[in-house]
């Protein structure tokens, strides 16, 4: 197991270098120049332009700029935002807990509902339950997130008044962030009602963000289960008189889990992408919104730093998924 983990870890180094090149090149390949954007309608004299270019280091050859960047990376320096003038890493860690909190709740919701629904649909294959679950999953999968989010806000916050419109907690609660996770911080603050408020603010964004992963997980679980349910060992288990619950829960589900875990792992990327829209609709102060703003402002340091950090997260999630395979199916370890 240890050697397996180590070999996976070794693969991460070249991937990291590759991602750093892609992240660095991506924002520079987009047309548009942060300095001209800074000047706006007024324009800028050629001298001033050259002066600013030199100040920001954009006048150096592109390869030299990349190696400066790489050197910074190995010292843990991801550069400074052109816009806010704050270190990228500092901004990232301020905003990241909000995204994690939301993504975590969404993936929990998506798996706790998606897997049982998928199992149910597979077991009752062809029944109205199966058709309803798969039909709904298809709709959920195709739902435009922005529209879906606004629809929920208008219904539940506007018309019914059940949930708050946006934000992470009611504005009447105010305490310094300790962990950055609002659910934990609100408990730590000891203020009455703060936790409930934070929880109620999480409901709609979680539902919106979980919608697509939930649909994907339900569909994947169903097809994996169907495959496993047709296997010989399931028939054997049934014929030796095991209860249907044990057959499905112990023999079938465990074997169906491998493709499902892959799917859940892949959903982390989907979640981070979905977070961009969800965070924008719900004014959720996370990294999705931060990245979008930065792309529009051509904030090179933030975009390349953000991409890199997100890529690192996805790499580690994939690593963990690989480890989980090993746990579930010992054959993969070798």
């Amino acid at each position: 197991m240890f050697r397996f983990a180590l070999s996976r870890l070794a693969l991460i180094v070249p991937t990291f270098i590759g991602v750093s090149i892609v992240a660095f090149a991506f924002i520079r390949l987009l047309p548009g120049d942060p300095i001209m954007l800074l000047a706006g309608e007024r324009g800028m004299s050629a001298e001033r332009y050259a002066e600013l270019q030199a100040e920001m280091g954009f006048d150096r050859p592109i390869v030299a700029q990349y190696f400066d960047y790489l050197l910074g990376l190995f010292q843990g320096d991801l550069g400074t935002s052109i816009v806010t003038k704050r270190p990228v890493l500092e901004e990232f860690f301020t905003l990241f807990p909000a995204t994690i909190e939301l993504a975590f709740c969404a993936i929990v919701l998506a798996t706790t509902i998606g897997i049982p629904l998928g199992v149910l649909a597979a077991v009752k294959r062809g029944s109205w339950i199966d058709q309803t679950v798969m039909g709904t999953a298809l709709v959920g999968y195709s739902m435009p997130i922005f529209w879906w989010g606004l629809l929920l806000i208008i219904l539940f916050s506007g018309t019914l008044g059940w949930t708050p419109v946006s934000g992470r907690i009611s504005l009447m609660y105010f305490f310094p962030p300790v962990t950055g996770f609002m659910l934990i911080d609100s408990l730590l603050s000891g203020q009455e009602g703060a936790f409930t408020s934070a929880l109620s603010h999480l409901i709609l964004p979680t539902v919106v963000l979980a919608t697509i992963p939930l649909a994907v997980i339900a569909r994947q679980t169903r097809s994996a289960m169907l495959e496993v349910l047709g296997e010989d060992y399931v028939r054997t288990a049934r014929s030796k008189g095991l209860s249907p619950r044990r057959v499905i829960g112990l023999h079938a589900l465990r074997n169906a889990m491998i493709p499902v875990i892959t799917t859940v792992g892949l959903q982390v990327g989907v979640l981070l992408a979905g977070a961009i829209l969800t965070e924008t609709i719900f004014s959720w102060p996370g990294i999705g919104k931060w990245m979008v703003d930065s792309v529009f402002r051509r904030d090179y340091a933030v975009v390349q730093g953000g991409l890199l950090l997100i890529a690192i997260i996805i790499m580690f999630v994939n690593l963990i998924v690989d480890m989980l395979y090993g746990l579930i199916n010992p054959r993969i370890r070798h």
């Binding site: 047309p31 954007l37 100040e55 003038k85 916050s157 946006s166 919104k289």
Partner: protein, 531 residues
């Protein structure tokens, strides 16, 4: 942290004593995150609303609801006969805010004024490069480095600015966000502690509200400053709830989560106006959307051709379709809320037939041209592509063939400045300091050809009027010259003036004392909430 503790203590007190001790909190649903809290580093209005207006003061301030200036931290000033020396007498007894790291030991004085400006041009100043990439963009773009020769402290309460040439708009510049007065004592203390960047993150000013905390991309909290020189505010706390999506801001306002909201979708204004709990203020923004010919190229070098084309544009249709009604037809290059606006100008009447006849009379047939459409939405032009298509259809009616072109925004700005650029460009301008010079000289002056003067138009008579007005001290005399300049502009028609957009500010009816600023600033001093 001290502010924070006070606020937490207040919150707990409120929790204990219930409604009796309820603090008055005004919540503003703002449209975006501030870039930082040192206004001189930035150029965005969103940043100024969160920094310059609540936290700081300037030597001069804009009179509420106007583009005129009035004394701020300078009580009075004298201008030398040659118009080169401005001597400011500072206000006595003005206090700075405090926070957990800083308690001011003295009142505001001349050192603070000198520091606030010096750091923007003096490379020797420790704060000239206190954050990475500090470029002092507004100080530079308002040509302050060329204009200001020196800033001297005469005595503790007197400061003298020496200019390189007489320049009346200079006073309006001093009321702009970049001219906000910082505490030198605080800056020195931060410098010693090795944390100068805190000047931009934990701001200290003299303004109506003290900064409490900023939770990145979520909320900014302020509390009313008890020692404010201009009287204590009626509200206790001010909260900016950052909500980037306009539809969501509207939902929050309707749900009562905020008292005032920024920039509603024009299409939603009608429903907001119908809501009995809300009031919607409206005013023309300090902007103009225009269509600039390249007056150095044939056939657009002939004013008769430009006027003929202007007549062919159905501006009202553009207001309806592009601005969704949230705009007014522009007839002058400056907005109606600005002093010296010439209301006597008569706009070109929309008349396709007359336009076609005038074009033929000018000897132009089979004209084909390019129209440049901006790729982004701006307050003065929410949808340039659509506007270009409407003008294309209008021009088609008079036999002019149009090709629409567009580039990425930075590229667009650069290419459209070039003197040899072809066709006509859609663009616009939002004023900086409320001075007519900021439109007429910046956008239409001879010096700006090849730069912000996208019409590449240099008219000697116009330019002389605008330059002369710059060196006069009396606002009345200046206004007279600007009015004449606008007449020349209208006659010469380097642009088709399309529209001034309307800025709407929806708020709860319980909010009183809010004054809409023609400069587009959101300011909350003097605002109260009915119980």
């Amino acid at each position: 942290m001290r502010n924070l503790k006070t606020l937490m203590a207040t919150t707990m007190l409120v929790a204990c004593f219930g409604a009796a001790a309820q603090a008055k909190t005004l919540v503003y649903c703002s449209e975006g995150s501030p870039e930082g809290f040192d206004p001189a580093l930035y150029t965005a209005g969103t940043t100024f609303d969160a920094s310059a207006h609540p936290i700081y003061n300037r030597l001069l301030e804009f009179k509420k609801g106007t583009t005129e200036t009035e004394p701020g931290l300078a009580e009075s000033w004298e201008v030398s006969e040659d118009g080169l020396e401005y001597t400011f007498t500072l206000r006595e007894g003005v206090k700075f805010h405090s926070n957990d790291a800083f308690t001011p030991s003295r009142d505001f004085n001349a050192d603070d004024v000198v520091f606030s400006f010096e750091r923007q041009f003096d490379e020797e100043n420790a704060y000239n490069a206190y954050v990475s990439g500090a470029s002092w963009e507004y100080y530079n773009s308002m040509s302050m480095p060329d204009l200001v020769e020196s800033i001297e402290k005469v005595d503790d309460m007197t400061v003298k600015f020496t200019l390189s040439e007489p320049n009346a708009p200079f006073l309006a510049n001093l009321a702009m966000p970049f001219a906000s007065i910082m505490s030198k004592e605080y800056a020195d203390q931060l410098q010693e502690a090795g944390t100068p960047e805190q000047l931009n993150q934990a701001p200290i000013g003299t303004g109506p509200f003290e900064f409490v905390a900023y939770q990145t991309d979520a909320t900014i909290r302020y509390q009313s400053f008890d020692d404010y020189w201009n009287g204590v505010e009626a509200i206790d706390d001010l909260v900016f709830a950052i909500t980037t999506d306009a539809s969501v801001r509207q939902q929050r306002l309707v749900a009562g989560e905020c008292h005032v909201m920024a920039y509603p979708n024009p299409a939603d204004v009608a429903s907001l106006q119908e809501n009995p709990d809300l009031t919607v203020m409206e005013q023309e923004g300090l902007n103009v959307g225009y269509f600039a010919y390249n007056t150095q190229q044939e056939p657009f070098d002939d004013p008769a051709v430009r006027r003929a084309l202007n007549m062919a544009i159905n501006k009202q249709a553009i207001i309806d379709a592009v601005y969704q009604g949230a705009g007014t037809v522009a007839k002058a290059p400056i907005p109606p809320t600005m002093w010296s606006y010439n209301d006597n100008l008569v706009d070109d009447e929309y008349d396709s037939e007359a336009a076609q006849a005038a074009l033929e009379e000018a000897g132009v047939t089979d004209l084909s041209m390019k129209i440049w459409a901006m790729p982004v939405s701006r307050p003065y032009n929410p949808n340039a592509r659509r506007m270009a298509e409407l003008i294309q259809a209008d021009f088609d009616r008079i036999g002019v063939d149009v090709e629409i072109v567009s580039y990425e925004w930075g590229e667009y700005l650069e290419r459209s400045s070039a003197e040899d650029r072809d066709g006509a460009v859609l663009l616009g301008w939002t004023g900086d300091n409320g001075d007519p010079d900021n439109f007429l000289a910046v956008l239409l002056g001879c010096d700006a050809v090849g730069g912000a003067n996208r019409a590449q138009w240099c008219n000697e008579e116009f330019d002389k009027l605008v330059q002369d007005a710059k060196s006069l001290e009396s606002q009345e005399e200046r206004a007279e010259l600007y009015m004449q300049a606008q007449e020349i502009f209208k006659e010469e028609a380097p642009w088709a003036t399309i529209a001034h957009s309307i800025v709407y500010v929806p708020m709860q009816s319980s909010v009183s004392g809010f004054v809409q600023s023609p400069l587009g600033d959101m300011t909350f001093d003097g605002v109260d909430i009915a119980e």
